[in-house]
């Protein structure tokens, strides 16, 4: 009997180049069949990508001669779930149902199941309690995905659904009834749906295709047939490999079969434990056997190929390169039941092996994922310093991959993650999600997020869209929230445009007419884009979410419409998004009654995201670096590189968490003959060995991820226990170099703390007109006046701010002003009715837009009204006239030919019966103390008095100092009157203080307007407001820490 030709290429060696050499050198065929050429052979490789790489290598080896390449076919091997590369065209079964259609139909079935579930028999929840297992359409999609995984697992292992009912233990049957009822979707409804559509189940079809392939090979031997790189993880693939190995012209090349492990260890993988008597119910089959890196290969060899390990021949260079590393890795990962043999090796021998095998391994134990990514980037970048050297990061953690790609940007090294990007996270996918989120109720923040996306053009050049967005933002989105919806926004825009005034925020006052036009046009275009895709229009009731996707797609087309004269080619992700919408449009999801996936509009964004998330975009070859790669585990399987970085060696990442699904527990899976989730761990362990066998290897982990402490990967724990502290710390020391280099990169050069700013724009720039409140600011924080009046900077309002206590103050001021101005001389008997009506009117906008604020503010106002009316009647007893909101202005010459205008608006000016005048200020905030007034930090009232005494108020004039009065509104007392008087210990009269402030103001104006004094930031920190809008600009935090002291004096 001719010996089967089964080969292996040891880990750490370049798999595909060695395979190419063996193909051209004839080692695989042993010269059979005589005279056959490479062009007649057929070669199966795990993926299309590997196929392309092999074709490239073979062409290289042919030199300049043109050659006919062999037939290279993909086996379609994947981690989990379904192959996209499967050789499906070779099946006799009807075409497989498209994946999206399958997911959507199952989603619909899940929804129907939940709606029609027999509550009395299956659910133990009280009547009226909603059944929330699919809590939303997105949940139903996820459940459908889980169900698909179970269907595929059963199909892959060729297990019948009926076995499921039998697997449920009697004592647990009550508990699992619900689950069994659920999976009935898959085995009762699903086959009928497939039959009706003339489609087949993808996993079963793949099995059939592989089996058909195996049969054909057995019947019609042609040229050389080679299967290389597969571990035979799917039974059908394993059968195909066996069929190839059984042919006289067949050869199988295994990746990294462990020939170093001793016999006892080898026997303990899989076989020994499977017959072990130590099994207990509930503990399942000893799961460690599945977690061994060689489990799949051993199973393939023994169960399918019927070979001993010794019969496998080694391909590749015969020199000893890498043998110690392979021996070390083999021993570290030996089956748990044989780890007692570690102690049989003497500590010295172990240290020798650890040093020899561990030479070239560096271990990075970073504090967190950020440090890990930076250290990896440094390690990759280091390779680039040497011409021609290549480096690869291998990691199952796509987040880490993204971080590393970003860190490499420091050196302008652009690397795309070869494992691909989820459509949901691609630019086009993000745009689609933003549009769906915005469409729910067009909140200002959501609209801005959408418009900020660079793909939004709305038929304009992007620059024009950006200008329109800025105009809309300043005109309507900042400040108090407009009424919801695009229509509300359009109204707000029109109203604000009509009501433009000098009291508008400065940024809005700067908008030109064309800006307002642009903003309006932008809203029009948005309204057109969202005409059929708006949560406001479609809010009530249940919608067909699949059909809604059509409207979503239409909206996106409008949003991304290019300018007429700038046509644009769609990018890869945009094409993928279009493809998703096309498939959604053509997917036949409805059942006989026309029911599809149902949900409310607000649930659509999550539903869409759950579909977009499972689509993975292939990276663009152009975007990947020639010498640096970032790979997932699958892509790294036939790796060929000079330096490898293994990233994310923490439990639940590498290896992944071996979670069972929500349907079957571990014992039930075993009973059904399904492999336990630990099989994935075995696969990642094999990936670990394959990658770490590269001579120059760096392993990284992080002690914390997302702020949570992690547990190191079991592979590292094993290594550490085996090699001992000495060898381990040597490897860690080699790794810490990269962290140190990374830390040095991020260590900033020392920066001198800035000095307190005191800009001197020159006397001419001093404003020639300021209000009494601005003077108060000039005293307390001159820099703010510089920023506001010289630089003309004004803070933008926040986006869609809810009304603040300042707005409440404005409302109350308006009510009181309206009240007094209607009856300037005598209060009518129905004054309380009048005040109530004014209050109701003024608070109405709050009541409609912010009922929860109204609930707090209105009762307080109701308590305030009677107290205020008492006060008002008391005041009116000897008031001749009352003037509200009186504007005042005086001018004085502070230098020859230079005048300065002081302005001020008095809340209320009363002319008393005795001819005296009183100025009243309503305060809903803090009332300044008499001391603060007297020393000049709060000169608002005294300066108003000065204006009055110089005849600056039209309402009233008096050469004598007026009575100055605060009415404090709010607090426990509701309303309190406080006269402004000289404080204790100040011998001056009010007239003296007013005069002093008037003179002080003149001095101040001369300081800035004549001498050109510097506008100091916060000269008296203790009297400045705790937060002021210009503090950041003045870098207050920086210089105040440096301890710059105060100087000067107030008015």
């Amino acid at each position: 009997v001719q010996q089967a030709r089964v080969f292996t290429i040891p880990p750490g060696l370049p798999f595909l180049p060695i395979l190419a050499d063996a193909l051209t050198g004839g080692e695989l065929s042993d010269g059979w069949p005589a005279g056959s050429s490479l062009a007649d052979s057929t070669i199966y490789l795990p993926t299309r990508r590997a196929g392309r790489a092999l074709a490239h290598l073979l062409a290289e080896r042919s030199g300049r001669r043109a050659i006919l390449l062999p037939r290279i076919l993909p086996l379609g091997e994947v981690d989990e779930g379904l192959a996209t590369d499967a050789p499906s065209e070779r099946s006799e079964l009807p075409p497989a149902i498209p994946p999206l259609e399958r997911r959507l139909i199952l989603t619909r079935l899940v929804q129907r199941w939940a709606a029609e579930i027999d509550r009395d028999r299956l659910l133990r929840i009280a009547p009226g309690v909603p059944f929330t297992v699919p809590g939303s359409p997105a949940d139903a999609v996820a459940l459908a995905g889980d169900l698909e995984a179970l269907m595929d697992a059963l199909a892959t292992e060729n297990v019948d659904w009926s076995a499921l009912e039998d697997a449920v233990e009697i004592d647990l049957s009550r508990y699992f009834r619900l689950t069994l009822d659920f999976v009935r979707i898959a085995h009762e409804h699903w086959p009928a749906i497939l039959a009706e559509r003339g489609a087949s189940d993808p996993a079963r079809r793949r099995n059939a295709a592989l089996d058909a392939e195996a049969a054909r090979i057995a019947e019609a031997p042609g040229g050389l047939i080679v299967a290389a790189g597969s571990t035979g993880s799917i039974p059908s693939t394993a059968r195909l490999l066996a069929a190839i190995a059984g042919q006289p012209n067949g050869a199988v090349v295994l990746p990294g079969l462990d020939l170093d492990l001793d016999e006892r260890g080898w026997r303990a993988i899989g076989g020994a434990a499977a017959t072990s008597s130590r099994r207990r119910p509930g503990d399942g089959l000893d799961p460690g056997v599945y977690g061994h890196p060689q489990f799949l290969l051993k199973q393939l060899l023994e169960r399918y190929l019927g070979l001993e390990r010794g019969q496998v021949r080694v391909l590749g260079p015969s020199e000893k390169a890498g043998t110690e590393r392979r021996r070390l890795l083999s021993d570290i990962l030996r089956p748990a039941d044989t780890t007692d043999s570690w102690a049989d090796t003497s500590p010295f021998e172990r240290l020798v092996l650890a040093r020899a095998g561990g030479d070239g391994i560096a271990i990075i134990e970073a504090a967190d994922e950020r440090e890990e990514a930076l250290a990896i980037a440094v390690a990759l970048r280091e390779t680039l310093a040497e011409p021609g050297r290549r480096a690869a990061l291998v990691t199952p953690d796509r987040n880490l991959a993204r971080r590393v790609a970003a860190e490499l940007g420091r050196w302008g090294v652009q690397v795309e993650d070869t494992a691909g990007l989820s459509l949901a996270d691609s630019p086009a996918g993000r745009l689609a999600r933003l549009a769906a989120e915005a469409a729910i109720d067009f909140q200002p923040a959501a609209i801005l997020a959408l418009l900020a996306h660079p793909l939004v053009t709305l038929g304009w050049p992007r620059a024009q869209t950006e200008r329109a967005t800025a105009a809309l933002e300043i005109a309507a989105l900042r400040g108090p929230a407009p009424r919801p919806g695009l229509a509300g926004l359009a109204t707000a825009l029109a109203v604000r445009r009509d009501a433009r005034s000098g009291r508008d925020p400065l940024p809005r006052r700067r908008l030109a007419d064309e800006d307002w036009d642009l903003a309006a046009e932008l809203l029009d275009r948005l309204a057109r884009a969202f005409a059929f895709f708006s949560g406001r229009e479609l809010d009530d009731g249940v919608l067909d979410l699949v059909a809604l996707a059509g409207c979503h797609g239409h909206a996106l087309n409008e949003l991304t419409a290019p300018a007429p004269d700038e046509p644009r080619e769609p990018s890869t992700d945009e094409r993928a998004l279009d493809a998703l919408f096309d498939e959604l449009a053509s997917a036949a999801v409805e059942d006989g009654l026309g029911r599809s996936v149902l949900g409310r509009f607000g649930e659509y964004p999550a539903f869409f995201a759950s579909l977009a998330r499972v689509r993975v975009l292939a990276p663009e070859p152009r975007a990947t670096h020639r010498r640096v790669k970032i790979l997932g585990l699958l892509e790294a399987r036939l790796l060929d590189t000079d330096r490898v970085v293994l990233g994310g060696l923490d439990e639940t990442i590498w290896p992944p968490a071996a979670e069972t699904d929500a349907f079957l527990n571990r014992p039930m899976r075993v009973k059904l003959g399904l492999t336990p989730p630990e099989r994935r761990i075995g696969q990642t362990a094999h990936d670990f060995v394959q990658a770490l066998a590269v001579p120059d290897a760096i392993v990284t982990r992080a002690q914390k991820r997302e702020g949570k402490p992690t547990v190191p990967s079991r592979f590292l724990e094993r290594m550490r226990a085996f090699v001992g502290d000495a060898a381990w710390s040597e490897m860690v020391a080699r790794g810490s170099r990269y962290c140190e280099l990374g830390a040095r990169l991020d260590h900033p050069a020392p920066v001198a703390a800035p000095k307190r700013p005191a800009p001197r724009p020159g006397a001419a720039r001093f404003p020639r007109r300021l209000s009494v409140t601005a003077i108060e600011t000039l005293v307390r924080d001159p820099y703010a006046i510089y920023a506001r009046h010289v630089l003309r900077l004004e803070p933008l309002d926040r986006i869609a701010v809810p009304p603040s206590s300042a707005d409440r103050g404005t409302i109350i001021h308006d009510i009181l002003a309206g009240f007094a101005s209607r009856h300037p001389d005598i209060l009518p008997p129905e004054a309380d009715q009048l005040l109530l009506q004014l209050g109701l009117d003024a608070f109405r906008p709050i009541e409609t837009a912010y009922p929860e604020l109204h609930a707090l503010w209105w009762p307080a106002f109701e308590r305030f009204m009677p107290v205020f009316l008492d006060w008002e009647r008391e005041r009116r007893r000897d008031a001749v006239a009352v003037h509200v909101e009186s504007p005042g202005r005086v001018e004085f010459e502070f230098a020859p030919g230079e005048t300065f205008a002081l302005t001020g608006r008095a809340d209320r000016i009363e002319v008393r019966a005795d001819g005296r005048v009183a100025i009243v200020d309503y305060k809903t905030g803090v009332v300044p103390t008499n001391k603060m007034v007297a020393v000049g930090f709060s000169p608002q009232m005294t300066l108003q008095a000065a204006i009055l005494m110089r005849g600056g108020f039209h309402a009233a004039a008096s050469p004598d100092p007026p009575e100055l009065l605060y009415l404090k509104i709010g607090g426990k007392e509701v309303a309190t009157e406080r006269a402004v008087e000289p404080p204790k210990g100040d011998a001056r009269s009010m007239a003296d203080i007013v005069a002093a402030h008037r003179d002080g103001l003149l001095d101040l104006v001369r300081q800035y307007g004549v001498d050109g004094a510097g506008y100091l930031s916060r000269p008296y920190p203790q009297y400045a407001r705790t937060y002021a809008p210009y503090d950041h600009l003045a870098r207050v935090k920086e210089w105040s820490l440096a301890g710059d002291a105060a100087e000067g004096a107030p008015l």
Binding site: P134, A662, R714, P851
Partner: protein, 291 residues
């Protein structure tokens, strides 16, 4: 255990007793006195006695403690793997108090790899993580969304604010059936509004202990009164009266006023007037109940 630190014999013995898996134990001890060591030892002794690692559940309160425990268990078991028979024998004797049989030495060496390969991981976790895991495993039976995620802090705040707003609206609207809410709002609104009120509501929600059972409520109030040192019938008016009268008695106030007038200072004169007015005024009325 830090090397060089000598653990007193009695402590070592107590720790061993508490770590004996055959005994139920309650351990209360100071920080740094070895509670985690006892717990780790207990897990290890369970493993040593042949318990499958997947059948051990060990709950802690913080994520850091859970990760730390797992790492410690692995570290200790990892050290055993390569110890020679003599040293491993000593270590096991120290742990269990018994000389180990030769077969146990081999088993002990295998524990490390077996423990790190526990299906689904060694279950040393926080209570929250445990509950979350159970719910994820049986969503159908628990009636929870199949792939639920726990709310983060900002989302929680957002939802709380929404709920708070709804309650306030309900209170203000005086909706029929919610008169109690409106009444409560009118009382609270006098003392608190704005941020104070929302803070108060949040505190009430967080301490779900505001009881609806009137007896329970009376009991809680009695406890609060006790904590404040209030006598059974003491009320706000009593406190106010005590503040005024229990110092200088009202009968003496006119006398003090006379003294003050003799200083001829206008401020003192004002004070004297106030004192006279207070003395001639009636006794303060008994105010509302304090709590």
């Amino acid at each position: 255990v830090t090397s060089g630190l000598v653990v007193p014999f009695a402590t070592a013995r107590d720790q061993r007793r508490a770590a004996d898996p055959a005994a139920s134990a309650w351990v209360s001890a100071n920080a740094g006195s070895g509670k985690t060591k006892v717990l780790t030892d207990r897990v290890i002794r369970l493993l040593l006695a042949g318990t499958p690692p997947s059948r051990i559940l060990c709950l802690t309160f913080t994520k850091a403690a859970a990760a730390n425990m797992t790492i410690r268990v692995f570290e200790q078991l990892g050290r055993w793997v390569t110890l020679d028979d003599l040293k491993l024998g000593e270590t096991l004797a120290e742990l269990t108090g018994e000389r180990p049989a030769p077969a146990l030495l081999k088993a002990a060496r295998r524990l490390f790899a077996r423990a790190i390969e526990t299906p689904g991981g060694l279950k040393l976790e926080t209570i929250h993580a445990f509950c979350e895991r159970v719910l994820h495993l049986v969503p159908f039976e628990a009636n929870v969304p199949a792939r639920f995620a726990v709310l983060d802090e900002s989302k929680t705040d957002e939802l709380l604010a929404l709920a708070r707003g709804r309650v306030l609206i309900e209170a203000a609207s005086g909706a029929p059936g919610r008169e109690d809410l409106t009444a409560a709002m009118n009382v609270v609104g006098l003392d608190a509004s704005g941020d104070t009120l929302t803070g108060l509501l949040d505190a009430a929600v967080r301490h779900e202990g505001v009881p609806s059972d009137p007896d329970e409520l009376r009991l809680r109030i009695a406890r609060l009164r006790y904590a404040l040192g209030l006598a059974a019938d003491e009320e706000a008016g009593d406190i106010r009266r005590a503040m005024l009268e229990d110092g200088i008695r009202p009968a003496e106030w006119p006398e003090i006023a006379r003294e003050l007038r003799r200083t001829r200072s206008s401020t003192d004169a004002k004070r004297a007037d106030a004192l006279d007015a207070a003395a001639s005024a009636g006794r303060p009325t008994r105010g509302s109940r304090l709590i």
